[in-house]
């Protein structure tokens, strides 16, 4: 068993208690409310993501957990203790900064040793822990390098190693992959998941990238304008969004008016056929007119117009013998169908 993981399970007995909880936390800057009265419980060992557009309060929330910002109201608890007024250097957590914040005047090894020295870990233990952490992020021979000599991806790994070498109870990650290109980002996403499983540390992850949030998280809190709209697993948020904002922010969505309410259906959950309308107890079917078709590669994107003039988008996978195929011309009549469990209704009051 990995030493870091062993250490964790010793010092943190498994209980149902959340590792981090926010109770009525709010943060004001003058008249602007960055975070509105917020309650959040993050479970031990969880990969928890704060997802939202820029300015939605997710980073401010992370910084209040880290201790860089003090809440205007409310209480922050770590491991059951009130840390609202505890400075960052006394909190059992570490942060990975968006710009990595590596000390430029120190080597990689010195960067890693910094936290251990500050916490007065015995001198003899430090080199071993530093090299273990470098092994974990696959930078075994990079200890003597300067941060300036490293690529973006390598710096990211050093920042990760510098945090986990301290074996914190919680790791905070502030858009850590934002500066990397797509391929490297996907590689690092897998790497982060691997390391999280290995060290068994709670990850609190801030991102505005919905795909990143969906693929990596155990649970996600969707932020909007300083409030949490919904907390849940990726599948729950995607399939059962609690608000129109969540539905729009995660993935693509269609909204149409039905019976005085707003109906939401995901484009890939609409099935198209050239023949008769399918309608039954589980399936809803109706005719529509095809307005346009775009070949996207993995799927084809169809624009549809319903009889009452409302418009929908449908995504059909390009499988042979399935869907409309390529023969369909814009303007032709098609039959669409969706499973009744695939739709969500919102009250018109919610309309954004």
């Amino acid at each position: 068993m990995n030493p870091a993981a062993a250490m964790r399970s010793d010092s943190a007995p498994a209980t149902g208690e959340p590792i981090v909880s926010l109770r009525g936390v709010a943060r004001r800057y003058g008249d602007t409310l960055a975070v509105d009265t917020l309650d959040l419980d993050i479970a031990r060992g969880e990969f928890f993501t704060l997802l939202g557009p820029s300015g939605s309060g997710k980073t401010t929330t992370l910084r209040m957990i880290a201790g860089f910002e003090r809440p205007s109201e409310g209480m922050v608890q770590i491991d059951g203790k009130d840390v609202t007024r505890v400075p960052p250097y006394e909190r059992d957590l570490n942060t990975i900064f968006q710009d990595y914040a590596l000390f430029p005047h120190m080597t990689v090894a010195e960067n890693l040793a910094y936290g251990l020295e500050a916490k007065r870990v015995p001198r003899g233990e430090i080199p071993g822990r530093v090299s273990d952490a470098l092994d974990m992020v696959q930078l075994t021979d990079f200890g003597h390098r300067n941060p300036a000599q490293l690529s973006g991806g390598q710096r990211q790994r050093v920042a990760l190693a510098r945090a986990i070498v301290n074996r914190p109870a919680v790791l905070l990650l502030d858009e850590p992959l934002g500066a990397l290109d797509l391929k490297l980002r996907q590689e690092m996403q897998r790497e982060l998941k691997r390391i999280q499983a290995e060290v068994n540390i709670t990850f609190i992850y801030v991102t505005h990238d919905q795909e990143e949030a969906l693929t990596m998280s155990d649970r996600i809190a969707v932020f909007n304008a300083g409030r949490v709209e919904q907390v849940g697993s990726a599948a729950a948020l995607y399939d059962r969004p609690a608000s129109e904002f969540v539905a729009r922010f995660l993935g693509s969505s269609n909204f149409i008016e039905r019976d005085g309410r707003r109906l939401m259906i995901r484009p890939e959950k609409i099935r198209l056929a050239a023949g008769e309308c399918l309608d039954g107890p589980d399936w809803h079917g109706e005719p529509a007119r095809l307005t346009d078709a775009e070949f996207v590669g993995m799927y084809t994107r169809y624009g549809l117009e319903l009889r009452d003039g409302q418009r929908l988008i449908a995504h059909e996978q390009n499988l042979p013998g399935f869907g409309l195929g390529v023969d369909v011309r814009p303007g032709s009549q098609v039959a669409l169908a969706w499973h009744k469990n695939s739709v969500c209704y919102f009250d018109k009051m919610d309309a954004v």
Partner: protein
């Protein structure tokens, strides 16, 4: 319109075009054309003067006629080395320059830190203006102002008398010079330290706290090492400006507080012993040369 102009003046344009095309093909020539005028000026006026100074230091003056004898001799340097007066003056100059530098570092650091990290943009601009304001005023006027403060019947002693304290007789002393120099050159220390602190991303301080370091450790392990180049850069200003000054010693220091500059001035103007003046003037030049080479090694030139 521009096309018409080009057609009208075809022959000169062709010459110009050929010239620019030639410089385009030979970038070294273009660089040379750019650099020759300033380099020529620099070599002629600056280096030539410096070389003349250095060469003149090895000449001497005929005691009777007062004319310069162009014969190599080390007599000027022997006088400097053996005369206790000149040694005292040289040590005083370097000593006060060093004391001023240390004082300005101590005073400037908190100011620069406050302006770079704590003050908001509005307050920062105000502080910057206040700090730079004295530089725009006459140097002489500011030194005279200090004379009025520090003189025996000056503002300082009046204020001390008002609160029932004995007068502090620091007018016309080395302490007075140290005070005035420290005040006058302070902005030249604040500015590079400010620039150095401002260049450090704020996340580094947060990262230090995040990794468990308290204020003092953050200061000694992160802030100071990253700001040292700025401190060195500032010290180049405060040290060299004090080293070369001769006005403040006259106005504030009084009789027993001559600087190297005062001896140089007296030997050029009154004694007419230019070779000796040149010899004495090489001392601060050599001191600065050593100082700059150390500063360069410490990375201070990236802060200028």
């Amino acid at each position: 319109m521009s096309q018409g102009a080009a057609i009208d003046h075809a022959p000169p344009a062709r010459l110009g075009r050929r010239l620019s095309a030639m410089l385009w093909r030979r970038p070294r020539w273009a660089a040379a054309a750019l650099l020759v005028p300033p380099m020529g000026w620099f070599v002629l006026i600056y280096l030539a003067a410096l070389v003349t100074l250095f060469v003149a230091a090895f000449w001497q003056v005929d005691d009777f006629t007062g004319e310069i004898i162009h014969r190599w001799t080390l007599r000027n340097f022997e006088t400097l080395a053996t005369s206790p007066t000149y040694r005292t003056i040289a040590l005083r100059t370097v000593g006060i320059a060093a004391a001023v530098t240390v004082t300005d570092i101590v005073l400037a650091f908190p100011c620069a830190y406050f302006m770079a990290r704590i003050a908001g943009p509005k307050l920062r601009a105000t502080l910057f203006t206040l700090m730079l304001l004295p530089i725009w005023l006459s140097y002489i006027a500011r030194v005279y102002a200090w004379r009025l403060i520090l003189a025996h019947d000056g503002v300082l002693n009046w204020a001390l008398g008002e609160v029932g304290l004995p007068p502090a007789n620091i007018g016309y002393t080395n302490i007075a010079m140290w005070l005035v120099f420290s005040y006058i050159w302070l902005p030249f220390m604040i500015t590079p330290i400010y620039a150095a602190i401002e260049r450090v991303p704020g996340s580094l301080f947060e990262a230090s706290a995040d990794l468990g370091a308290r204020g003092l450790r953050t200061f000694t392990k992160v802030t100071l090492p990253l700001v040292v180049p700025g401190i060195i850069a500032g010290s180049i200003f405060t040290f060299s400006l004090t080293l070369g000054d001769y006005i403040t010693p006259v106005l504030i220091g009084g009789t027993g507080s001559s600087f190297i500059g005062n001896v140089v001035y007296a030997n050029v103007g009154i004694a007419n012993d230019i070779p000796f003046a040149a010899a004495f003037a090489t001392i601060p030049a050599v001191v600065m040369l050593i100082y700059l080479s150390i500063a360069r090694r410490l990375g201070a030139f990236e802060m200028l």
